[in-house]
Symmetry: C2
Subunit: 221 residues, 2 copies
DNA sequence: ATGAAGTTGCAATGCACGTTGTACTCTACC
DNA sequence: GGTAGAGTACAACGTGCATTGCAACTTCAT
């Protein structure tokens, strides 16, 4: 599925380095300036324009590669945070809050990535469907699956009551992440720390009300 | 705040008509083709390119006007649906479900508008902050305030238990709307009816679990 | 009717940019 | 150390497009 955008094997040393530099430059420039000119990317990457076209078919393919690489990186960060906060849970609410804060912090840590996502979304009508799917699979869906896995384990320990772990993961994501995303315009406008805390606190509370087992036994409409 | 984009009073008859035609054409073309050429808009509106520049300073101002007008229209539709479904509530869950379905249907009814929103979001970094604010105030914030009002009334009748009506409105919006928005890429990719129903049903259920008064008395958490 | 205001079609300007070709240089490998 | 495979600088091409000027034409208020 990512076949078209995978880095082809290549004998020459340093080749992959150039490719990496270009992709990184593309991510930076696309993130900062929008769907900007190739020249800016070449400058940012310390590479000639011609080299970019030696590595990539055209601007669009470069963009696809950039967003895919970026998505993997962000996903890894999110997954790592889940492990850190949910592997050993003592106080569930506190740990969920900590995870939520860590996620939101990631948004500030990878501003370029989220700018790319915004660009892609804006062009969703005209963007190649395979690239859209590839991104969703590599990024959001994978992250959500990881969260679902963790929530499922917590449910197994009796700390949560969950019908469908994947749906629970989506709801958690929506309540703590989607609102921050929306309010900050996908990270474009920074949000007050107090506002973030308020959103997260309320979101986690609503989530838990919907997914905490009743104090006594184990049934609930 | 919208002063810059309001239609200036004008003696001449037919003037406002042209302006309207241009704005409508802009919305259609921007929505369909992205941040497209002025010529396309002129053709769509049945107007000469030059006339557009007689009415608007530049493309950007035209875009701002288009999205503001569009936002008001969509907001009115959403508000009207709230009245229809929440003014006389018999079965709360059923009515909320109906409202949610109506909202999602609106997304399909105003595809151009949501494409405009996507465009604006993609450019959020570089878009004039006042225009961004004007849109948020006219559209999403107003709609959410209306929903908060309705939910507050329902809480007054004892059908819901709500701390902050505005927060409850946000959570409802997130659980039933944000996910559809995200999954369909802001309406760019149509969603299966079954998927929509599943999302809405689960969202309303989680919402109600968090905001329904306990069967017995009136305290909770 | 008449003149001012608005509209139109057209051309022109000017710029930004994707993409490619070419000739030269560099460098990793043998 | 030589050579083939990369990279680079540079220029050129073509295009698309926002924006403006202009002269002729239409429309509306009085």
């Amino acid at each position: 599925m990512t076949s078209q955008n995978d880095a082809p094997a290549h004998p020459r040393r340093g080749w992959a380095d150039k490719r990496q530099a270009i992709i990184r430059g593309a991510r930076t420039v696309f993130g900062r300036d929008g769907y900007a000119g190739i020249d800016a990317i070449a400058t940012e990457a310390g590479v000639s324009t011609r080299t970019i076209y030696n590595h990539f078919q055209d601007k669009e393919q470069l963009f696809s590669c950039a967003i895919q690489e970026s998505a993997v990186q962000v996903r890894d960060a999110l997954v790592e945070q889940m492990s850190r906060h949910l592997d050993t849970v003592t106080d569930l609410e506190a740990d969920l809050l900590a995870l939520a804060h860590a996620w939101v912090a990631s948004m500030a840590q990878f501003p370029d990535h989220f700018a790319l996502v915004r660009l892609m979304t804006a062009e969703a009508n005209r963007f190649p469907a395979e690239a859209l799917d590839a991104w969703q699979e590599l990024g959001p869906r994978a992250a959500r699956a990881a969260l679902a896995h963790h929530l499922g384990l917590l449910a197994g320990r009796g700390l949560l009551e969950i019908g469908d772990p994947d749906r629970a993961a989506r709801h958690f994501h929506l309540l703590v992440f989607a609102e921050v995303t929306e309010r900050s315009h996908h990270g474009a406008v920074p949000l007050d720390e107090a506002v973030i805390t308020e959103i997260i606190t309320a979101g986690v509370r609503t989530f838990l009300r919907g997914h905490i087992p009743p104090p006594g036994a184990g049934r609930q409409q």
